[in-house]
């Protein structure tokens, strides 16, 4: 059993796509059925590899959206001019095969024993690993006080809208919409900055543990702002997804 687990962690395996669910016009959630999954931690990601008929390959990383006790689920955003994300969000069907490797990550992970209070900052698809953390917290029966501030372009772009809208003890969810707001919007507007975080983030004296995920520029602004508010850098964990300009990911081998 242990040998199988190690092999799954270090090598590529072929999973079957169990389901593909549309979340927004540009985002889908994919449930996968890998043959040798060793289990994962909240916050980890997996690597996906596509192979074309001519042997061309492309690899990308996707955060795992599900809690450790749940099936392997990723959520993928279609990037304009992307090479892999358009395939995963528009072509992939249940029954297809998908090569993956993982789980990967030992830094951007959370266990109930890590405590809190938790300050979660999501930019766009950066919500994915934070959703894994929230689901893990709930399933583990952890009462750690948690605040999530989720920055998105418009309300239609908010992923997991219904789920995040559910009331859970000890979890406060706030949104900031940067490009447009529905009529009657009472949430925040504009990009996350020092002023918004000064208002919304746990004060530094609470000794919070922060997880920030999203586009690189979003993460850098938010992380700098939290450190300015007095958060020790070692209690601000970051995961950068890159920029939105140009083609996505690496060129293939």
């Amino acid at each position: 059993m242990a040998r199988t687990a190690v092999r799954g962690r270090l090598t590529w395996q072929t999973a079957t796509v169990a389901s593909v669910t549309r979340e927004t016009t540009s985002v889908v959630t994919i449930e996968l059925d890998p043959p040798h999954w060793p289990g994962h931690r909240a916050g980890q990601h997996l690597d996906v590899r596509l192979t074309a008929e001519d042997g061309y390959t492309a690899e990308r990383e996707y955060s795992i959206a599900s809690a450790p006790s749940e099936p392997v689920i990723i959520t993928v955003e279609r990037l304009e001019d992307g090479e892999v994300s358009p395939y995963l969000t528009e072509e992939l069907r249940p029954g297809d095969l998908l090569e993956l490797r993982g789980p990967v990550g030992g830094y951007f992970v959370w266990e109930p024993a890590d405590g809190g209070p938790l300050m979660l900052l999501a930019g766009g698809s950066g919500i994915v690993p934070l959703r894994s953390i929230l689901r893990h917290r709930l399933r583990a029966g952890s009462g750690v006080p948690t605040r999530l501030l989720y920055s998105s372009r418009r309300w239609e772009d908010v992923i997991y809208r219904d789920e995040l809208g559910q009331d859970h003890d000890g979890v406060q969810v706030g949104y900031t919409l940067t490009r447009g707001q529905p009529a009657g919007w009472t949430g925040h507007t504009g990009r996350i900055d020092s002023a918004l975080l000064a208002e919304v983030a746990w004060p530094a004296e609470a000794n919070p543990l922060a997880y920030i995920c999203g586009p690189t520029s979003f993460v850098e602004t938010a992380a700098a702002a939290l450190v300015d508010l007095g958060y020790p850098p070692e209690r601000v964990k970051t995961e950068r997804f890159g920029g939105t300009g140009g083609t996505d990911g690496r060129s293939g081998r």
């Binding site: 990383e61 990550g105 030992g106 586009p215 300009g245 140009g246």
Partner: protein, 83 residues
């Protein structure tokens, strides 16, 4: 295209080192700054993957994949140790 961070190359680092490395502690040979590998600046839109110190910008690691082999140069690191 913006840089990413060490989280993104976690899988590649497992290939190279045989174990999870994003939580490992790196120390820059040039300026002495120490931080988890996950927090290093990663440029991978290139002929290879270049990992730089977030404090001084020096090159810490360069990984080049050639077919099924990854060559790794760590000469910019003073130290790389378990978390």
């Amino acid at each position: 295209m913006d840089a990413v961070d060490g989280n993104a190359i976690g899988g590649m680092l497992i290939e190279v080192f045989g174990t999870e490395m994003t939580a490992a502690r790196s120390t820059c040979e040039t300026c002495g700054a120490s931080r988890p590998v996950a927090e290093l600046v990663v440029f991978r839109q290139a002929p290879g993957t270049v990992v730089r110190c977030r404090t001084c910008g020096s090159v810490l690691m360069v990984l080049v994949r050639r077919m099924d082999v990854i060559s790794v140069d760590l000469s910019g690191l003073a130290d790389l140790s378990p978390p």
